[in-house]
Amino acid sequence: MSSAAQPYVIPGLAVLTLVLALASLAVGPTGVNFSDTGQAWLILSEIRLPRTLLGVLVGAALGLSGAALQGYLRNPLAEPGIIGISGGAALGAVLAIHSGLAASLAVGLPLGGLVGAAGAMAVVLWLAGERGGPITLILAGVAVASLTTALIALVLTLSQNPFAAVEIVYWLMGSLSDRSMTHVWLAAPPILIGLAVLARLGRDLDALTLGEEVAANLGTSLPHLRLLVVAGTALAVGAATAVSGTIGFVGLIVPHILRPLVGHVPSRLLPASALGGAALVLASDLVLRIVSPGGGIRLGVLTALIGTPFFVWLVVSTRRELAP
């Protein structure tokens, strides 16, 4: 894209997100009859508003943390799942379902997810070591992600209650349906704090474009930066996964699509990816409500269905770039 168009990218994405948010409030299986203001208000405030707000928060969390991780690792194939945070959140939520905590306490499931994300963050940071670079962080993240996948499978096979097993599988697919304002109140503070932490890293991610030594020379503390990237992702993606399940590929494809539109500058990619992530999740959720009002297709399944072909294309084009 020409540099002249770059200033319009972020306002354009903001307008797109706003339009999709309004559409998300307007579209649903039940038509809102505005002559009956009481009923209309009930549907809007109790059913659609939480869904819309969560769509914005979860999408922004996935998009922004994807951009921050790709910037930190200087790798366009990085995404929030790579450092094990979403795996930890999923494991925590699955344990909450398995133990019955989720059934006895409305916020038990998201709370389990938050605890799982925090645990994963602690293990990843401990494994990666105090002075390790991006490579040790990836290795630690891959180890934690594999372990959580194995433990989730173990919980599933040990589950004696078939209903709990089905619930776990459904929950893992990711969804924004049947969420209440309680979920919003629970997830919003950690997501917003995580977004605020990540949004401030633009300067250091820009400096890292020229490698770790130049970044250090330009005033970046690399251990501090790594801690903030992991903590911000844990808060934002951990809380997002805790309320919505695992929604894949948003954190991978959104920064990748938007990067050329902001001149590849990491700091400009951060706000663009937050808005782009929100827009993609809202749009996907809207498509689901229109094509599958009964809830047969889950949000995480749809994003993976869109994301996988994109990922293949990414691999093929990278292969072409790297070919001699």
């Binding site: 474009t209 020379n217 330009l218 005033g219």
Partner: protein, 250 residues
Amino acid sequence: MMARFEDVRLALGDRAVLDAVDITVPKGKVTAVVGPNGAGKSTLLRACAALLVPQHGRITLDGRLLAAYARAEIARAIAYLPQERAVHWPLAARAVVALGRLPHDDANAEAIARALAAMDIAHLADRPVSQLSGGERARVLVARALAQEAPLIIADEPTAGLDPAHALALFTLFQRLATEGRTIVVALHDLSLAARFADHIVLLANGRISATGPPGDVLTPQHLQPAFGVTMLCTIVNSLPIVAPVSTLP
């Protein structure tokens, strides 16, 4: 800015890369660090840029311990140009040069334009660095360091990959910056360039200082031959010093 190394020992892993290093980098001069591969030139430069911390001895800048400087102070005092020339995203050349302004938080357009002009890359400013040649990219990265406008410039092999015209232009620029009061430290392999443009030479071999002083005293066969293991021709042609390797010593 004057830098001093006092009895510096620096090990990477178990290997002492620098040992008993005692040097002064004079203010307002061009200092060239020369020596064979693996002599410790890059390590010396990194230590001077506060990127590595010596296990023994002290490094001071203007009499103050380097380790006592705050991160932000160092970013404004020292511009470090590594040998590594990776640019991880295909940023426009101007955006890369603008990174040099990060320590000042000002994206000063004049400083960026000056750096672009000094390195003769103003015409490439809007091109992605991924589309530039190796030498052009090297000039963009030098311009990034210049845009930092730091009193101490530390450059590791800045002329590697540059054509003769741009290598000459770079050292002429270094000389001018030095006369304006800035301190320049460069590691380089082109000994003729060092003989012609440097005010002060540090000759390293096996992590130790084997000679230090003005080019006329250091760039001589008796110092260079044992350090490099080759016979050296040190002469003057048309009043320009020439230092050229001749043949490997048995």
